[in-house]
Symmetry: D2
Subunit: 333 residues, 4 copies
């Protein structure tokens, strides 16, 4: 008998990816998937890619979820806290939303608004010492998708004193699933195909999370919507603060990380190679003209950027191998 | 110790998908991957999505392959026969090429040219009695991607006397990976994005294979290249020959097939729901104006249309559960 | 002083394309663009591609439109009739909706529902004798996008007795702009990219219009949504009824049509080559196995399939050269 | 009788766009289109979007070109100089290649290699005083596509003392047509769809051109290949050097430029809105966390980034209105 798992917010894209991963996980048993307006529909009516999965979406309520050993919350930002508060302490929870990521209540108020719910163990296992903290936790706040992409690229460089925490400049482009599944006119296929479109320029809500996780003290982060369903590519530039080779610092930091691949010299990450996987690909170099360090980071926003990362954390919470039920390899082309 | 597996033609798209599936297969050990001009390169230089797989492409030669228990041939059409002839009988072989699919040597000569190599057990497990034949075989000819898509839609209807074998009309659109990985100008991203482009109109080489596998006696099949990397959608129309509901015939035919899903009434297959999986989605109806039966069939041309199907056959050849190492669920969005 | 032109329904995709064409038309002056919920917005807020066009969307009402010499109606099907009835006879009208296309009131009721509004001159100039009828008309019903694509491919063959009007089988794939601009979840970019998705299988509302315009007596038409913003590719197959070469029949029929190009032998139409233009590309052949005639037709659903066609009709209505303000050439890649 | 125009290098993407624009230009007559391996083919065999244009590609040689009044050179970088040297002084030339853009021979040698051919009038009409210089020139070096995008965003800010010329950081993503039409495996549709892929990281050859044109003294420019045929989106960040509003500076700089649109406050440029046009869309703001100026610039790499810009320059060289034969409006969706 495996771990009994429930997914709240199962009708969205991260929710669907969670269902796919759990359905293929050898130690997790999917016992409930809940939704709001879609409650009552078969899972396959909402996620046709899961044809063969015989389950009906239940209404999201604490009683349904409390019956599970492990609950993934894939709700809109700001909705996790109220629900989590109603779950017994014995239920382990991984929250894919932003509610419990920030330590700084002011930053929460400034970027998200409303009262700060608190701070849970941060769900990025590759940060130093973080695997043990996650393994010991019963509540984990999964990283944001941009935050995962950028933190994996930058945190070791700042920690090693190789890159200045000041004046970090990032442009990060995301596939459209990162914008969610709500029917909005600017996300129609007719609008996004053939289009690159910046948004929330100068004021993205992941900025405080990224600063907290990387140690950056000044961060310009411009997000761009890209014409593809999945994937994030972050170009991270920083002022060097020493002579060390940034690529070697990254390679050392992730030598034992099964999902983070510092590519061979000369090979640069690209998003398609990570699609459907839980891997992050990294490469670093130095700009010939400006001398800035450039790190490029690619991952699947629904994989290592959301559902895959959440399962990785849950594996650690249950003492399983980190890779259980997850794929290192991308689905390409 | 698992089955020792080699892949010949590992640098192409079907080859890359085979490597991905074998690397994740619990009973198969990948011992060799061979190529031609790419021999000597790390697998990850050719397939960056396999970052973490530490293997170098070897030259395609019989000695290398003969060391394996099981060989997958993912070579251009017409190149399998010579290689297969040099492999010992003790090595099981699944050929993803067309060389051994046809029973009719004349049809081979007409559509492919050159001498007919022979006929192997046809690798479509869902045909009546075919699982047992594949399980007993040491040489299997995997279906073509269009043939798999169309045969799963049509064969049960003709066999049941529900659809006429005469005057079958098919339009089938494929993602670009079906056209292979050779650098050709008309397959450039700039050309294919935003474009639907018919090809080999009126004379596709899969026609005799489809007729053989379905029992159709007259078949118009128009292939179209579609702006997506993966997936085939076939619209199959046929003249009805009775009052039976074609959907029910299909549902009965595939009641025990783990990878073939006849969708609930009202839901029509679409390719994205099958991407990355070994599933085929089907739906059937009757056209209001013409009375023709319309069956729509969708699958991943590299999955159920090539590499996944090949692994499914190999599972049967080794007495494993048909689904071992394969996913029923698609990666979407 | 040019013709004073207004566009009702200017916030949709066909409306936006009309604005683009009119803004570049040497004889038409855009005096009003109207909308419903978007009334009051600058045109450029709704159509950012028209940056530089200084106009505010007005509310759609008869008084605003009656002030123009020429009105294009780009409204949802069923909404044109009421509005048109309130426009004075002196105002010329081209309706891009379906309201006035059908001669058969029963067919209207069956496929669209509600009372039949009447029948206007059919706006497909390339039909025999139709240019003169359009030139003499003050009310023109523009063709549907699928109808234009298929009629141009098929009508001359049936008229010439080369193709049987019975048992015509069509599969036609359209870019997503054909599905309109309303925010619907199944039209999100995340859903449509990488996807081919059939819809309204066996019962599309363009069927009676196509039968009326082509003379077909039995028609199976399966529409498919394709992952591109624009373009329709129709594969039309028909039973031959004589020995004549279908390509030659088409070439003769369109010898003097500036927008319909029968491609050189061996070249098949593809949608990207028609994007942004008012051209339709055609090619015909005979299927080797079945003997069926195959005609492939490609055009831009917003161009020759909607707004371009409407401007072409308006040119005729004003005695201008058919090509005024329209491009024969596509924007590719 | 119009200006007699020839295009050398007409088989590539920029060449095809030149043909399209010239064919629709009221004052230019296309008298020759030349190519290398494609010489002898009808233009429409190479550019099917130009169906209706009856012209055969000639071999690229000076005699053919010298017969024209105006020659556009759309050749690979490094090939224009030899050809231009053989054209009589009476023939006006616009070179779309890089050969004559740089003033600094060392920068040429470092980024392109080989001897420096010289320096022609720089073909970016919106730079201060540049319209008059272009009007007076008989030889013009058209801007590079990235250079046009970035220079329009940045040059006025540095010139006005609003942005520091030091430590400019740019990430710019381009559609695949920017990578040319040569058949390369990494540009196949299967590879580029669903993919964002950085290239030439830290060392792009447009860097010296951009520094020369903008006055930047330190520039990090990371180019990314995006899954769309056309369009460039540049995110330009710079350290502010005063309190002036960067958007107002840009608006003032381009008040009289018909093709450069500083969008209304709150609206950010996106590439699709510029497709097929000669427009550049701009917006500027200040990053909340870092205080950096962020300017986003979008244009069509084949339009304002290549062929459109070249025609705009040619219009000035012939005393025509700058906008003759060019569209301000994009083709969208």
């Amino acid at each position: 008998m495996g771990v009994r798992v429930a997914v709240a917010g199962a009708s969205g894209y991260a929710g669907g990816e969670l269902l796919r991963l759990i359905a293929g996980h050898p130690e997790f048993d999917l016992v409930a998937a809940t939704a709001h307006t879609q409650a009552g529909s078969p899972v396959t009516a909402v996620h046709p890619q899961l044809a063969g999965l015989d389950l009906t979406l239940a209404q999201t309520d604490p009683a349904t979820l409390a019956d599970a050993d492990l609950v993934f919350l894939a709700l809109p930002h700001g909705q996790s806290a109220a629900l989590a508060a109603q779950l017994p302490a014995s239920v382990k929870v991984v929250d894919l939303g932003a509610d419990f990521r920030l330590r700084d209540a002011d930053a929460w108020a400034r970027y998200y608004g409303g009262p700060h719910a608190g701070t849970w163990t941060y769900g990025l296992p590759e940060l130093p010492g973080q695997r043990a903290r996650i393994a010991a936790a019963s509540r984990v706040a999964n990283t944001g998708c941009y935050a995962a992409t950028i933190t994996l690229a930058l945190a070791p460089l700042i920690a090693a004193g190789v890159a200045s925490p000041d004046d970090v400049v990032v442009v990060a482009a995301s596939g459209t699933s990162g914008a969610g599944r709500a029917a909005k006119a600017h996300l129609l296929g007719s609008e996004v195909m053939g289009d690159l479109s910046p948004y929330k320029v100068g004021a993205h809500q992941h900025v405080p999370e990224i600063k907290q996780a990387t140690g950056a003290t000044s961060l310009s982060m411009t997000p761009v919507l890209a014409p593809m369903p999945r994937g994030i590519l972050a170009t991270v530039t920083a002022v060097p603060t020493g002579a060390a080779d940034p690529r070697e610092v990254l390679a050392a930091a992730y030598a034992d990380a099964p999902f983070v691949h510092v590519l061979p010299p000369g090979a640069w990450p690209h998003t398609a190679a990570t699609a459907g996987s839980n891997s992050c690909h990294l490469q670093a170099g130095v700009d010939a003209d400006s001398g800035r360090i450039i790190v490029v980071s690619a991952l699947d926003n629904l994989g290592k950027g959301a559902a895959g990362q959440a399962v990785q954390c849950a594996n650690l919470m249950y003492g399983l191998a980190e890779t259980t039920g997850l794929s290192v390899y991308g689905v390409a082309p």
